[in-house]
Symmetry: C2
Subunit: 398 residues, 2 copies
Amino acid sequence: MTTDFNLTKSMFHLPEGVIYLDGNSLGPLPKAAREKVSAMMTQEWGDMLITGWNKAGWMDQPTHVGNRIAKLIGAEENHVVMGDTLSIKVYQALASALDLRPDRKIILSDSGNFPSDLYMAQGLIDSLNQGHELRVVAPEDVEKHITQDVAVTLITEVDYRSGRRHDMAKLTAKAHDMGALAIWDLAHSAGAVDVDLSAANADFAVGCTYKYLNGGPGAPAFIYVAPRHAELVRPALSGWLGHRAPFAFDLDYAPGHGIERMRVGTPPVIALASLEAALDVWDMVDMADVRETSIALCNQFITGIEAACPMLTLASPRDATRRGSQVSFRFEHGYAAMQACIAHGVIGDFRAPDIMRFGFTPLFIDMDDVNLAIERVARIMRDRVWSAPEFNMRAAVT
Amino acid sequence: MTTDFNLTKSMFHLPEGVIYLDGNSLGPLPKAAREKVSAMMTQEWGDMLITGWNKAGWMDQPTHVGNRIAKLIGAEENHVVMGDTLSIKVYQALASALDLRPDRKIILSDSGNFPSDLYMAQGLIDSLNQGHELRVVAPEDVEKHITQDVAVTLITEVDYRSGRRHDMAKLTAKAHDMGALAIWDLAHSAGAVDVDLSAANADFAVGCTYKYLNGGPGAPAFIYVAPRHAELVRPALSGWLGHRAPFAFDLDYAPGHGIERMRVGTPPVIALASLEAALDVWDMVDMADVRETSIALCNQFITGIEAACPMLTLASPRDATRRGSQVSFRFEHGYAAMQACIAHGVIGDFRAPDIMRFGFTPLFIDMDDVNLAIERVARIMRDRVWSAPEFNMRAAVT
């Protein structure tokens, strides 16, 4: 192991007494982020004013930061670009894919996908009004439903509730065998597991940066387009910063080169400054070490909780190779139980109807944290009388 | 006049010796913004972690901030929401409008519109593939081209190059007479002129917040949907935060109530904190005072420059009622001349092929600044020998 996780842990602001097992929803604050944003605001926005677009490199930031993300997900250089939100990036990838398969009408997804991906697909289908169908199957049935009428698969690699991990390479190969394209949502993969988009031959990938990548609440999303499609795709969201010559102010759109055409509007410069500070931590990390350590942490948590809390049922795959970097348990009174955990300094989250979700991110969670979390959760589960769940729809964000 | 513009000026970080006449492209840094963002990052993101979504009110920020913007543009409460970029908001408004006029195929715009609006329309039309047409006419011909086959007008109120201001109420009335809908782009209006969406009976409006509103580079955009349409529009970009119950994680989309359905993905919390600091300045301002002062500043600049610089030709309307809050001049060597102005501390910008553009924002520009700017520009124009223009496409951003 070459990564010094004690060092990376010291780079985060972690409130005293809290074991933060929700980095899969919102990563914690990197200590350097505040200073980086502050410096950007004063020295760039404040002092350079409009000239910051060139002098401070704001205009190139979406591709510059995209290249930093690319290294973490096995993407080729200059094939990832930042901007907007994950939902928007899903729309862009999906519209592009359907455009590349004009004779096919089926979008295949699964019921474990994050709902916003399905919603964006539904909105696109309604807008197109060209007879497309969103086919949603059980996660375990995806492979057999990849048939010759499927235009594109829209799959989230790691299930946001259970942590179940799809086999990206296998499903992509099947999609290609059937003449379909494959879009991968990496929301719970980027920074969590060893993703290799290039090796898996993925066509498109999208993801957010506020979970395992620690970019901050509402940090910008990313999109990847495989080199073989990059000069072919027609952007549905054809904004001026995806134009070949944005500052020529032509009245007609002409797509920019490759991944540049997936840019839409003005880049979110302040948010990107925060994300850059978060990526500085990732520069010190070997993803193989992250994966190995994550598996050890998750396994330890499963073993400990199962031994101490018989009322909790594992909802995640037991096989670490089929799991992301989170562990979920089912419990009838899961909402109340999670509230109690949070009150006792173990922050995970709850997903309806009965999922208690705990994320493990080696960058700032170590084995001592896991053992202490087990101890606290075990005490809560043992000491409390569990009555009817009180359910708060807005308890947390994925 | 009730507004204290000396006070508002003191609230901005303005580099020594610089007269900043480019707030129409990127507003300057409000002094309080850095501290506000810093506090948000440490006390909310850092200390509250995931619980910030509820405890710090992040989840409600897009509508909360939308209501602050609404006051500046004559919009009804709870009918403006923040998010994404202006280009995305154009797409949402346009897709919604076309959906409300299914029997019509014409989108009417003008050649003075900002190109990204036209690009987004072109992308939408291509995606829909249902025979829609983007009809782009000269700005002065818009009114007569609003005919009974027009589905929607997509017009930027204030021209980004010339500052020419359309008559919003008149064109909207004509659109309604012809059975069409009216979308107004307020990029160069919000915070610049006295906009009254409600009185003008506008159907949709969109805008950005990094120009006259001073939200920061890449600050989030806003969208307005008139109350009469708010519960009818079908969102094309149907993201989870526009869902009626985002945290129920249903597999099927159901639009949220009213303007909430125009939300798409996770809100840009850090950028919104900066924007909130900028809006604190606007709380101290009467828009009628802003308009009156802006006209006085622009008139003074026109008079002074025309007297001193005969080689510059006014490209903006002379009639202040037909002008936004900027003044543009044509000059063959405009690019080089603007570079010289910037080097001498008068920051305006250049728009191809020959436009020198100067924005006047009473919040931080006063009559002394205008007189000093005239003096400096006059000296530059008089002293330099103007040769062939060297043109840099990426010189600046609108």
